[in-house]
Symmetry: C2
Subunit: 350 residues, 2 copies
């Protein structure tokens, strides 16, 4: 019955997200969720808005949320675009800034959704091979290209690129779009947000799913100069007028407002990450220095797939990527101290 499928569907190679375990006994360290709940103020704000107004459409332009995000970052409201999770913003960005024909560039080891977008929007791409230590040879981005996208810190390695290198990439690509996917930036990397005013070719993507504990609410955003935000808005308004519901808008606004809670929880995660990384290194693991809310680790015997299975049998879900270059590694999200103690203890028992 594929005769009814469009050529586009026939060519898709859909993304497969990390397992969402229904079984509650798992310690879930596989989808980079925040181990801490959303701020109590966020919970309150949403609850207070579960009312009769749900019969009405939300504000299609999300003005209030844009205003509070722009205030937080010290930019203009017209320099903010919001969407249904940063995945939707990524999809719109591929549509808004890349063209079929000219190859875009991204790292060979990176967020595995990029090649999926490239496929569905018919964008050719070339990958930049990471160095052996998973660092990014950023000079490779100086070559002629049809656009650049990479996460900073990178996924699933957690390795960051300093702002000085990002500036060089932006300068060498002043006629091309450079998208910096900062889904994990709040856990220690240097954000490029401060460069938005200087570079007309820069898009910075962020999300409420990780550092703001709201994966279940679906809010992501892009920052960039007005002409770039307008391009994203044109795509969105050719696709779906209302991508954020009333409750998601309220929750996101409150999450930005409660900066104290945000700071507290992200530092807790950073502290746990450093502690766990040190312990694992002592146990003989290769641990890539991470600036994200996950670590990328290789066991002493290099048999990551085996370890993945054994952990699962013991009630701990982590992520294994069936990709040649990283087959010796596991990605482990940073949980609470208690969860990470169980993780370490389980490893010690093996």
């Amino acid at each position: 019955m594929r005769k009814y499928w469009s050529e586009l569907v026939k060519n898709t190679e859909p993304y497969v997200p990390g397992e969402q375990a229904n079984n509650k006994k798992y310690i879930k360290l596989n989808t980079n969720e925040n181990p801490y709940p959303p701020s109590l103020k966020v919970i309150e704000a949403i609850k207070n808005n579960v009312d009769n107004k749900l019969r009405l459409y939300p504000d299609p332009s999300c003005q209030e949320l844009k205003k509070i995000i722009s205030g937080y970052y010290g930019i203009k409201s017209k320099e903010v675009f919001v969407g249904n999770g940063s995945d939707e913003v990524l999809a719109f960005s591929f549509m808004a800034f890349f063209n079929p024909g000219k190859e875009i560039l991204f790292p060979n080891i990176t967020y595995s959704f990029y090649p999926v977008y490239a496929k569905i929007f018919n964008i050719n791409y070339k990958t930049v091979r990471l160095n052996k230590d998973f660092s990014l040879p950023f000079e490779e981005f100086f070559k002629s290209n049809g656009g650049i996208i990479f996460p900073n810190p990178n996924a699933p390695t957690g390795k960051d690129l300093p702002l000085s290198s990002i500036k060089k990439i932006l300068k060498k690509n002043i006629n091309n779009i450079v998208i910096i996917d900062e889904a994990y930036i709040d856990f220690g990397g240097e954000s490029a947000v401060g460069l938005v005013e200087d570079f007309p070719n820069l898009i910075v993507l962020q999300t409420f799913s990780k550092s703001r504990s709201l994966a279940g609410l679906r809010v992501g955003f892009a920052l960039g100069q007005k002409h770039l935000i307008e391009a994203l808005a044109r795509i969105k308004n050719s696709f779906n007028s209302y991508t954020l519901d009333r409750l998601a808008l309220k929750g996101a606004i409150e999450a930005i407002k409660d900066n104290k809670y945000f700071e507290k929880t992200r530092y807790k995660i950073i502290k746990t990450r450093e502690k766990v990384s040190a312990k694992l290194r002592k146990m003989g693991f290769d641990v890539i220095g991470s600036k994200a809310n996950f670590i990328f680790i290789s066991p002493p015997d290099k048999n990551a797939e085996d370890l993945f299975k054994k952990l699962k049998e013991n009630g701990i879900l982590v992520r294994y990527f069936n990709q040649k270059e990283i087959k010796d590694y596991l990605r482990v999200s940073i949980g609470t101290d208690q969860e990470m103690d169980s993780f370490i203890k389980t490893l010690e028992n093996f």
Copy 2:
């Protein structure tokens, strides 16, 4: 700064949704929202789920919601696709079932988002001219085409097509996809859901925004045979893994469960519509017989644009479409009896 825009963006002609008045004094009859609040059980269910689990991703496959929708319609769970409002499901449908090159067909007077989708996904289309009374000359859909889409009842006219005609369209197009956009079906039209098992070329779209009073929550769905739902899922999973947030899922599930409230409110709206239609006819208006939660009316002097402005000045928002064929008409959403009394009284005062 358009040099940074993709060719796709340069070609967009974005949709403009009806005004969302911030000013609360308006009687809002312009975006076909339900005048009645969501069921109290829906409100309760959402409130009870505003909790720490918001830190976790929602179920990307929305199994529970699919199950309850399929149960309601007596079809299989694999015959249901859910999305972020029926606009998102429409966008995915254009991607999943239509190809550039072969012209698709839709009415010349219809939901004004269809040509926007066609434009952005580079789908050629030809419009079928409605009869003078706005009825659909459905035999025009028997011509060779690359797919068919139309709303039933149609928008913004509210006119419905009987199931017998829809069956004929489906039979004559057994090798093409036929999408029936039933956003307004619960207000009196005959749904094609019962034909899903018989026709491998049928997609039925519905939404929670109108008859289930949840425009603010963003939930829509498609029904069709498994191979068609799989096509939609492949597009969605190449776009955004999690399009429905945790609270939208909970609210939608409960909205289907509370069938009693649904039946009560939709019949109230039908009753109000009939009463208002009769009154307007007595006042000399041309009122198209509607099976939707809105009416399409032309004032005795045919000056719809003027009436639109005068109503707005008097605190009543309706919708005027700046399109030649329907320039004499206004679309008026059905509000509460009280709101419609104010509407009629305001007209009488002019």
